[in-house]
Symmetry: C2
Subunit: 341 residues, 2 copies
Amino acid sequence: MATLKQIAEACGMSVTQVSRALNGHSDVSESTKQRVQDAAEALGYVKNIYAANLVSQTSNQIMVIIEGMEKDTNEAVSSNIFKLLQGISSAAGKLGFELVIHLKNRHNAIDYVDFCRSRYASGVIVYGFNFGDKQFLALQDSSFPCVAVDILSEGKTNGCVVVNNVYYSQAAVSQLLDVGCKCVACIAGFEHAYVTVERLSGYAIALQSHGVEVEHGLIRYADFDAEKAKGTLAELLEAHPKIDGVFCMSDQMALGCMELLHEVGLRVPQDVRVFGFDGMYLGRFVSPTLSTVEQDFYEKGTAAVRLLADIIHQKRKERTVVVPCKLCVRESSTAKKDEKQ
Amino acid sequence: MATLKQIAEACGMSVTQVSRALNGHSDVSESTKQRVQDAAEALGYVKNIYAANLVSQTSNQIMVIIEGMEKDTNEAVSSNIFKLLQGISSAAGKLGFELVIHLKNRHNAIDYVDFCRSRYASGVIVYGFNFGDKQFLALQDSSFPCVAVDILSEGKTNGCVVVNNVYYSQAAVSQLLDVGCKCVACIAGFEHAYVTVERLSGYAIALQSHGVEVEHGLIRYADFDAEKAKGTLAELLEAHPKIDGVFCMSDQMALGCMELLHEVGLRVPQDVRVFGFDGMYLGRFVSPTLSTVEQDFYEKGTAAVRLLADIIHQKRKERTVVVPCKLCVRESSTAKKDEKQ
DNA sequence: GGCAAAAACCGAAACGTTTGCAATTCACGA
DNA sequence: TCGTGAATTGCAAACGTTTCGGTTTTTGCC
């Protein structure tokens, strides 16, 4: 593999000058720059990043850490995270950062701060942590710029990209109440996830502002899983036959619920109205079409990188980026009064 | 940041010995090993991989290259690739490899061989290339061990992980013919993708072995997109009203087709039978449930890493790994003769 | 032609590790 | 007590790059 030394020999000049020429320094003449570039091209030179980063004590690498990625991750979550990664990748490419992506599972646990230190990371983007996680705290306390997605995080070198879960959940549940629902159940996600807590709060606010009391028996956790949601709703219907609306914290779960309702002979939306969350592509293809809150994970990814870059360059002071969502009211939550019994 | 030198000073010994102790060499006494490890722990030492890889001229990094990852990648593809990545990540963790994942889009094009050379890559896993791609050829011709997923690739340092697309497509189409379909259309994927070509060939074989002639007018490309599939099938039905079976090369497209059939008043499976491909989770939740060929992308990922490791260690001679699929015949392709008009 | 300033260039050290080779220490039997 | 071989240790070079400080060459001007 060609090195600076070989180029220097080929051009009859010093290694120093070659390095400066290739890095576009000002104190090297245009003619030598050209000569060096040609020689580099001819020799198939490519910079050794280990040597370069070692001496410069920096890197332009961003670490992306995705927690909780076991084999059974469900399809909707997979797709969302992948879009997040695409957004990150795209923005990182534009801004000249390299990506080292770590999908954490039980076989590849590492110490993240050490990982960053051992490679002079420019910054970190994390997803999937819950509040109080040791490693999450360590990253926040470290000197590495750290942007969290879908969970709050503040600090001198920290920031976060979130959506307004409270607002949109409230809007969704309000829509259900506005079309006449009297008893709205809530199929929640992972009990301790930040988004779950926030959406639950939106659910409660909507009920209260409509003069409905929150009944804890109507709230169940189904870990964002369609199968679990289905089983959970079955139990709920058993205990509360008067349920006429279901707010699900993911579309995947909403589809599970619609399947169950179909099986037990309840019509959507005439008997029970359903609202999802996420905006999955297929929501438009099921029958009835699924009402949902559409999130843009790609946008979350690009926003995270831009925020991180700003923190790295000490530019922005506002450290919380809120990415907008879109409320999509479709058939599954529509009144259709004329068909109602 | 602590270095070997600092540990050496703390322990009163040479840098050499410290390096050996930490790397578990045999020619260092147990007592010093312990002493060094304690000091390293106390000082918060973490190995600088830039220095280590520079001198050893190696790395334990595997490059993962995913082609064609523009913003509009569809949900099913996203989810599949993410599962592939999870499988890769899990197996790499077990085998002690680090991952550098490159999701290629228009903003982050790089020369892959140069990329590998500049970081002493142990090997490469690629996904999404088509035959004849310059960069793909360059990787195959390079000295870097290279495993391709979902496309054939052979050579001294190359291998591939695929599924038997021909066989399963044939099985799917045969099932449609066996329940009485006389005119089976084919909604194909990207025209030049390897899997498309293979599945098309399975489609043709099934028809021929049932004594049905292949009619090219019944074959259309819809790029694995549900929306396009929907429009395409509409055109097809216009031109060929006798169509009573549709073989789709992805579930996503199959759902698009079912949506269209529903809209134009054709019943599934009584009037038209539908078969998908991929095995997406939601296929079990739509009504009618979707027949499909279930692929395991997680397994493809782990298989790819294991194969790559074997190539790196020059172990295996067989360089093509075939991951099994599962034929899932569900309602959408079932005859239901009694309900037929 | 001579001079100063600007432009272009170079030597050598440094980054933190690994490793070949040589030096030292040790145990143990003669 | 000494010699032998094995076990343990250290020196110094090497990996390929960047950069500090200094040197040489060129340029422009009187």
